[in-house]
Amino acid sequence: MNIPGSGIIKGLAVTARNFLGSYVEKDRLTTEQYPEERPKLPENARSFPFLVFDGEDPEAGMRCVSCKICEKECPPQCIYIVQDRDAAGKAIKRPKVFDIDISVCMSCQICVEVCPFESIRMDQDYELSSFDRFGSLVLGKSRLLKSNTYYRNIHPTEAAETDARLEADRKKKEAAAAAKAAAAEKAAAEKAAKAAVEPEVKA
């Protein structure tokens, strides 16, 4: 026969086991003590977009060419780009202003998908709170530009893929340029040869 009240004793035993166990087995306590302990984020974790630059100098190594595709594609329209112009007023392939309002951004990653220059990528930084509701949440170029090394750190697989593609593109371009140069040389040589032959014919 089931003694009445035995269920309560069993329940009390369960809580007692958890209570005492949490002092003995450290595995039971799954809470991370946040500011001191930080989670290792999974590779695919993403917060807000940032801009990748190559080399050391952010301005010189900037991949963005100010094509404004991301600005047009952005569903909540949180990206604002102004193209740079040189002294003569001619447009340069470089943004003068590149702002992302992260209070509007919804982290959809569409800008990353559409960027043909592998320039905009997703960041993992999540400590973005500020005392100012507007200004500090609009990230300018200075805060958006982060080096390719940083990108390799946070998304190793994705970065390797991008780097391989960029390298292949560069090689293809080089090969194309070489082929073009060779063709031009050939044409020039033929022309020269022709020129050398023609006077003889004339003569």
Partner: protein, 401 residues
């Protein structure tokens, strides 16, 4: 060790003698003596309340495999978060004191005060140690229940004055609960008073003194009737102090916060404090009536001062209350009232009868068996009936199947 045992009393008389030697008149000295006692008792219980408020959260957290509050410290020393009550207190005091426009302002203001007064008054009759009773009353137990009933008025005042449907519903529930559980509570107390032949808490503690065969304490909880009565008292005390699993008056899932809905800031803190001090008081009475009061559990442990034993036992009972809170879910109102009237009340009568038989059968082995049978058989019958009555069965749907 005798010095430590008498330290609180000696310290007070030394201080008063010092003042007396400076020519302070006798009348003022006797008033001062009372003020010192009152201040000490209130101070100790406020300290216990502060400690309890953080320890309860830590114990509950540990039962759920969490850390609980462990941040608030003193400048750079964290101290396991023991300064949490200070932060809570500052927060409570600086919060806005909201009073609903349609409320009965005077009653709304008075309710926390009226709640606090009985919680503090009942502390007067508890024997905190050998010769340490603030007010030596012949009918101390009666006084405890008579004064303690005042909290019910305060709860209803709070619910009614708030002019809020949830408040008044919560207050109604609280009244129904407190009155229902007052009866098993008093019945259990009567049993202890009956066996020791006195309503004076000191006499009840004295009746539990001494050791059988030189090492088994004579506490009432170690007899069949005493164990039953003690358990009944404990369950009823949980309900009286509105603690889980009987915390229906504050059932946030249906009643927001019951009679506390319209209270904020320091008034809310006062309610909270009164509830906890009331809980400690009723724990103290449980310790006095059944757990041997300030008596040590083993003869050689008497070197530890009696007041340490009293507060140690009170803290232990308070810990078990938190433990129960971590374990049991909240009851439904009809289940709770049925439990009081159909289970606790008959069981308290059985314990009463058992105690009487134990006394008249000569308090020997035969008496032990007899009293065990008198509480055990009704327990099995009532308990089985009760479990079957509320057993969870497969639900059948009339229309959908």
């Amino acid at each position: 060790m005798d010095l430590l045992e008498r330290a609180p009393i000696e310290l007070k008389s030394w201080f008063l003698n010092l003042l007396g030697s400076f020519g302070v008149p006798q009348g003022i000295l006797s008033v001062l003596s009372a003020v010192i006692i009152i201040g000490t008792v209130i101070g100790v219980f406020l300290g216990l309340f502060a400690l309890m408020s953080v320890m309860e959260r830590k114990i509950l957290a540990r039962a759920q495999n969490r850390y609980g509050p462990n941040r608030v410290g003193f400048f750079r020393w964290r101290l396991f978060g023991l300064f949490q009550p200070v932060a809570d207190g500052i927060k409570m005091i600086t919060k806005e004191d909201l009073v609903p426009r349609t409320s009965d302002r005077a009653v709304h203001f008075l309710a926390p005060v009226v709640m606090m007064i009985p919680a503090l008054l009942v502390l007067a009759i508890l024997p905190y140690g050998r010769d340490m009773v603030p007010a030596e009353l012949d009918a101390g137990i009666l006084y405890f229940f008579a004064v303690g009933a005042g909290t019910e008025v305060a709860v209803f005042m709070a619910g009614w004055a708030s002019n809020n449907k949830y408040s008044v519903l919560g207050a109604m529930r609280a009244i129904a609960q407190m009155i229902s559980y007052e009866i098993p509570l008093v019945m259990a107390a009567i049993i202890a008073a009956m066996i020791s032949g006195s309503l004076s808490p000191s006499a009840i503690v004295a009746a539990q003194g001494g050791f059988a065969w030189g090492f088994v304490p004579q506490w009432f909880v170690l007899t069949p009737w005493g164990f039953t009565a003690g358990l009944l008292f404990y369950i009823a005390a949980l309900a009286e102090s509105n603690r889980s699993p009987f915390d229906l008056p504050e059932g946030e899932s249906e009643l927001v916060a019951g009679h506390l809905t319209e209270y904020s800031g320091f008034k809310y803190a006062t309610f909270f404090m009164a509830e906890y001090i009331g809980m400690f008081a009723v724990c103290g009475l449980l310790v006095t009536l059944f757990l041997g009061g300030w008596q040590a559990p083993l003869p050689f442990l008497t070197i530890i001062p009696s007041w340490c034993w009293f507060f140690g036992k009170v803290c232990f009972v308070a810990f078990t209350m938190v433990w129960v809170r971590a374990t049991l879910p909240r009851l439904r109102i009809d289940h709770m009232l049925a439990f009081a009237w159909k289970f606790l009340l008959p069981m308290s009568f059985a314990a009463f009868l058992s105690a009487a038989c134990w006394h008249y059968a000569g308090r020997g082995p035969l008496a032990w068996l007899l009293s065990l049978a008198i509480v055990g058989i009704p327990y099995l019958i009532l308990g089985t009936a009760f479990t079957n009555r509320f057993a969870i069965s497969r639900r059948t749907y009339q229309f959908s199947e």
